[in-house]
Symmetry: C2
Subunit: 454 residues, 2 copies
């Protein structure tokens, strides 16, 4: 690791920590609630005559690495390793439901196994049944890994908690924090491992300036598989797993870029960026006029599924619709997507109309059979402008079917590669807006997105 | 060679031959003139006390393969092989000039060596001094080869003269006859060799239906070099030479395509195509409206050089200007070129205008040094819309310099790769016409070209 002569001022870090580090009172409140829920869970298990079942606080709350103001509690209900999965699901939920009866609101959620989310005294609590396995590599379901992560971090994070808080807030401020599929950034566990590995927030940022795709950190030296993701951080509790699997190349690049910028110009703005104000109608119109490009937006109702299911479908659509347009000779220079109650795919084009004539390449003259077929097909077609030979191949100039982008989208959108829920929603209806018409999308969050995108 | 069950009707061939085969009277007139000029050349050589100098009729006239109505006579003045080149040039021209004194008009021409063109009793005569070498492979200049071609054809063409006439007229009718750099088609010698090799006009056309690029004919089996051209016909008089070197891939393809069509539908139109009528202004406007594309023409004065020098420069320009446009994000779908007193480069575009914003890709974020340089360059530039990261690389959205094609051409045409004479002419002035403005080019030959191109 190359050492640079850059030091982050201590008072800057202190002034950030003042805002993000939970106060002793905040900590006490949280642990009181956590203790109560753990005891309650255990006693319900006893009441049900379940043996070997225990409850444990995991996640950033358990590790002292949670940001002030966040109120998330992850409480895992651990069952013996040899428990029958159906038995675990049944009794796990039974216990969790009973705990939830005391809560304000609660609902069942489904990942690999069902679990329960509830609101309790202002905290967002997840009650998650899992197997207590002996090694992380023996896990039966993804959540079984969490207790191992918890142990590893707790054992190694001592004295580095503030550095983790600074890193999380920095990542949050520059928009790369969160490994859910909407963000594809850094998970909390990943951030903690980075601080442990590099020893401090400062050292980590200095190192990040020279990161590159394919970079691998394997702190236990036990990795066994090849990983193709942009960044590889082998899980110290599981040699087969890449902790950074969700990180996209652009979020990685963003982190590298912002680490450099921050080390050049220390500023609290990286941790607490100035709020972005929604674009007004006249700002939108003014920007469109300055760019003088063709703007197209597809608007449809956001399907009612969890974000981790929907966002990959939205991003898929953000790729597949421009492909449709490019296949029909339109040039798409930028794409964007946003989702609230409705979803928007944005595309910026060099031009929104095309000539009536479309050049279509046929077979080389030398492929006699194909040549005969091609000529026969177009010979008596009244629908072509001309046929000629160019670079040894036949060219036919046809009448173009779609000369404007709106008609193309309206006619062919359903042929694009779309996710299941997106397709269903689009089948119910969608709207294509051009240029100034995007002002009809009023949602302030969309307008905030637009300020960065447009 | 694959035999097909296609027979060209004898009466069709006869009716073509009636029009293209010189009558006995026409032949007599031509040979009288040729004899006179040969004798005159010899006697002048004698008067000058030159020994070993003789004159000889070569070319299609000497071989009985010239088309009725053409009046070309190639008379070569042969000097002994060991003649000093300067001596040959001096006395060769001296003899030719003296012969030319009797002619209506004459002028000196320059190929590898100077020669004289003259009009004599209605015939276009070339008087060409050359070396009488012992083998074609010993030639000192390209013209020395001609007497060898002459001998080879004369020895092998007997009985096939009509087939050569049919082939030449067929090639002429479909626009592939002539090996000059304007046409890049088939030379007369090439046509004669094809008839000799395939044995008849019919067999040749049947074979041509299955020709392909890279096809090689080496009738003497003596070829020594690798040739890269689309068609290879090793010169029976020179193992190193490809007789088909000038043939372009599209003229080859055109011949293949038209051979197939003719064998399917025998018609005299292939030999004598209907005359093409110049496009009128209203036809131009109508076609442009139907295509609804953007048309651009660059018009400049044709430089005063021979066609074999100019046409390669014109075709070069027809490639280099579209490259300029494509480099500036315009999409060129078709190109064309024409030359008369002035020259025209034609381009058809998907659109003639572009947005003000231009996406410019910078270095990958990971190349730290380049990244720093790139960011520093654009950091305080007021001239950009935005900077962001896409697929791991920086993108800057700049203000586009050329948003319409006419301004681009007017500003940057001289930066295109242009031939010497073309560049000189364009420096004197040029005009860019858009869409209907091409009606301002009135030359009927241009309008004939347009009917095929547009």
């Amino acid at each position: 690791m190359k050492e640079k002569m850059t030091e982050i001022p201590e008072n800057l870090k202190k002034s950030v920590l003042v805002k993000i580090k939970p106060t002793p009172y905040e900590q006490k409140c949280l642990f009181n609630v956590a203790d109560y829920l753990i005891k309650r869970t255990s006693s319900i298990a006893s009441e049900l005559n379940l043996t070997g079942v225990s409850a444990r606080l995991v996640g950033s709350a358990a590790r002292g690495t949670w940001l002030s103001g966040t109120h998330d509690l992850d409480i895992f209900i651990l069952f013996p390793e040899d428990t029958d999965p159906e038995y675990l699901e049944y009794y796990g939920l039974k216990i969790a439901r009973k705990v939830a009866e005391e809560s304000d609101i609660w609902q069942e959620q489904y990942a690999e196994h069902p679990y329960i989310s509830l609101k309790f005294k202002g905290y967002d609590v997840d009650l998650v049944p899992c197997f207590r396995v002996s090694y992380a590599s023996n896990i039966k379901s993804a959540v079984d890994r969490t207790p191992f992560h918890n142990e590893f971090i707790k054992e190694n994070i001592k004295g580095l908690e503030d550095d983790v808080l600074l890193l999380k807030q920095f990542m949050h401020g520059i928009g790369v924090y969160g490994s859910e599929l909407k963000t594809r950034g850094f998970s909390g566990y990943f951030a903690e491992l980075l601080v442990i590995y590099f020893g401090s927030f400062d050292n980590l940022l200095i190192s990040a300036c020279d990161w590159y795709p394919g970079m691998t950190i394997d702190m236990m030296g036990h990795g066994t598989l090849n990983h193709e993701e942009p960044f590889i951080m082998i899980d110290p509790t599981d040699p087969r797993r890449n902790v950074a699997a969700a990180l996209s190349v652009d979020k990685l690049a963003e982190f590298v870029d912002k680490s450099r910028s921050f080390l050049e110009h220390h500023s609290k703005d990286f941790f607490f960026p100035k709020p972005v104000i929604p674009l007004t109608d006249s700002e939108i119109k003014n920007r469109l006029k300055l760019r003088n490009s063709s703007m197209v937006a597809i608007v449809f109702e956001t399907p009612d599924v969890v974000e981790d299911v929907f966002y990959p479908q939205l991003y898929k659509m953000e790729n597949s619709v421009p492909s449709l347009l490019e296949n029909h000779d339109f040039s798409v220079s930028n794409t964007g997507s946003w989702a609230g109650n409705y979803s928007v795919i944005l595309m910026e084009l060099l031009n929104s109309t095309l000539p009536n004539v479309k050049k279509h390449q046929g077979p080389p003259v030398w492929i006699h059979k194909h040549a005969d077929k091609f000529k026969a097909k177009y010979k008596d077609s009244g629908n072509i402008f001309s046929m000629y030979i160019e670079n040894g191949s036949y060219i036919v100039e046809k009448v173009r079917k779609y000369t404007d982008v709106k008609t193309l989208i309206e006619s062919k959108l359903l042929t694009c590669s779309l996710g299941k829920h997106t397709l269903k929603s689009i089948k119910k209806g969608f709207e294509v807006l051009e240029d100034d018409e995007i002002c009809r999308v009023k949602d302030p969050e969309f307008r905030i997105y637009l300020r960065k995108w447009l």
